[in-house]
Symmetry: C2
DNA sequence: TTTAGCACTCTCCCTATGAGAGTGCTAAAT
DNA sequence: ATTTAGCACTCTCATAGGGAGAGTGCTAAA
């Protein structure tokens, strides 16, 4: 069924009203607060039709209406008007970002910003690096048979990992290795994902007659695992969700808290929605995760030097101010892209 | 007032019973489950005295008794019997630790172990390094005018920080710097706290006529800030606390959740209790933090190569199984000390 | 000093009741 | 053909009352 203009207006009104009050919306309130010049009876009738088509629902027979997931979806796709941030807010955000010169801190600040601006949970996925081209590899001996491997990629990201080796690797051999590797890197664009295979092949050719230490193999294999490791998640604003009336009941709170506890699951979910469009909105049951039934997630991708790197997310109740969430997500992800590209 | 033996027995019984059931303990239950060969009336009388002395309290006139903070404190100091872990549990813990070869992962595993074993919140403070002696400093150029500074300490800890420099620092100059610094380090034991001052003095002597680049100063100052930075906190088991009936009411949950949200505050609190005794127990209002009113905290120090390094903590409701919490905290901190000393 | 007995208190659960909010439906008005 | 006024109906929520049950405090007897 196609919604007529009046139904769209009423659906929009219900969504807006419900987002601000968290109470079921009655026909009377709509007639009173949104000047549609219609009687409550007429509005009631339209609401009845909207309910029949699964855009609205009632908690009980004689109560007002609440948008369904489908109602929110229709609103988000067809009715909502972007609500750009005020200049003042933008300036404040820039100001806060200026405090940080470090990568880690920038990530932390981003998740804090998200949670503070939205009163929801802010999530930031650290940049993925497996598609980055390796510019440079260096080895630093840090004692006790441990080597710190430092990989620098084309987008300027630095990955570090400490590797324990069984035997002793002396400095000469390490610098020989790093010179060799870096000379190979200069010849072609190797990304972190296939770094391992390509370099191993090359190494095999020379190591076979140069020296027979197996542990160099193992050592390098460990080094190059860097790219595969799960990426860090920065999460802030857990208490924010307790402010929302929908989580007053301990069971619903439990659901969302268990979602947050398992940061990896949340991260994988967000990562799963990456690509295609910059910003995505996942509403309630649209997610396969049962813990997300009562939640919506707004994600937005960020880029480093034009290359897709990671994503930020806003997690809150389905009853969220979508226009504002989207504006914030997009503004923050743009700013983050800029900042990380400058590093 | 001095407690007589019978009062101690009854207090112990009340604590044990309340810890397992979370319900006010009646005189009847004590008479029935703990064979004291006393009538309920006698027990009732003793409980009345215990209440008068603030070891027990009643939620309302005609209900059973609950231990007060003071009651728990007396129990913990005088009555409780350590409850060592079973060999099987110890083996499982060792098994889990074996999976990890990395520092970060070891920390994460520790907080997970704490939360899983105790059904409470597990906290691990990363080692502090300001009192460590600096063995070695190395600089790695990572492009875009950024230098990765790596400091290795006597206890084998590795601190890293990426510094942005305004001008370009070439490789020769960097290696000159690091050679110079490391030669100075070899002469005396310098810990991270006074690293800055001592080295700056030395540098001033030579830099003044060698070269006049101010940014080297700034650069080094930034490098040596590593030691002062707040230490990381690893936290696990947030949902665990929702299982406890004392947090069924959303307000009390709010308190403790806000405590967890501010990891730094929790970390500072734990750090404040460090020293003197290996293991400490803080019960309810004994803490100055109002968020901790309904919680207890068990902390235990760990060491790296004999040197006090950090602490682990268990955070849960005041109604916790103290003997078990203490045993777990001590066992885990010992194991962690061993593992980190081997790194 | 300990205990049996009993009145008393408080919670918890169930039920009833009435007010209030909001709907669905129908018949009249536009 | 739409829209609206009117009204009966439904459901929630807050309040009060009453009875059962748990547990205490007190007193007098053992």
């Amino acid at each position: 069924m196609e919604l007529n203009e009046r139904m769209k207006t009423i659906l929009t009104a219900v969504v807006h009203r419900y987002i601000t009050t968290a109470e079921p919306v009655s026909s009377g309130i709509i007639a009173q607060k949104y000047n549609l010049n219609l009687s409550t009876a007429t509005i009631r009738h339209e609401m009845y039709l909207l309910e029949k088509n699964d855009y609205l629902w009632q908690p009980h027979t004689s109560s007002g209406r609440i948008p369904t997931d489908r109602g929110y979806r229709f609103y988000v796709d067809n009715l909502m008007v972007k609500n750009y941030l005020k200049e003042k807010e933008k300036r404040e955000i820039i100001q806060i970002y200026k405090k940080s010169k470090e990568f880690e801190e920038t990530m932390r600040i981003t998740s804090q910003l998200l949670s503070n601006l939205t009163n929801n949970i802010g999530v930031v996925l650290a940049p993925v690096i497996y598609n980055n081209i390796v510019k440079n590899i260096q080895f630093v001996s840090v004692g006790n048979n441990r080597i710190l491997t430092v990989i620098v990629t084309d987008t300027g990201l630095v990955c570090q990992k400490i590797i324990s080796v069984s035997g002793e690797i002396n400095t000469d051999r390490l610098s020989y290795l790093s010179n060799f590797i870096n000379s190979k890197l200069a010849e072609k664009d190797i990304n972190i994902t296939n770094l391992n295979n390509i370099l191993m092949d090359e190494l095999d050719k020379i190591i076979s007659f140069q020296e027979k230490f197996n542990y160099i193999h193992n050592f390098l294999e460990e080094c190059f695992e860097i790219g595969y490791s799960e990426n860090k998640v920065y999460l802030d604003g857990r208490i924010n969700i307790m402010k929302h009336p929908e989580f007053k009941e301990i069971d619903k709170l439990n659901y969302i808290l268990s979602l947050i506890e398992e940061e990896n699951i949340l991260a994988a979910t967000i990562r799963g929605y990456l690509g295609f469009r910059k910003t995505k909105i996942i509403i309630g049951k649209e997610s396969k995760l049962k813990e997300m039934q009562n939640c919506s997630l707004v994600t937005s991708e960020y880029r480093i030097k034009g290359k897709s790197a990671g994503a930020i997310g806003i997690l809150g109740p389905t009853r969220m101010d979508y226009p504002r969430m989207v504006s914030i997500a997009e503004y923050i992800s743009d700013k983050l892209s800029e900042i990380l590209s400058e590093f």
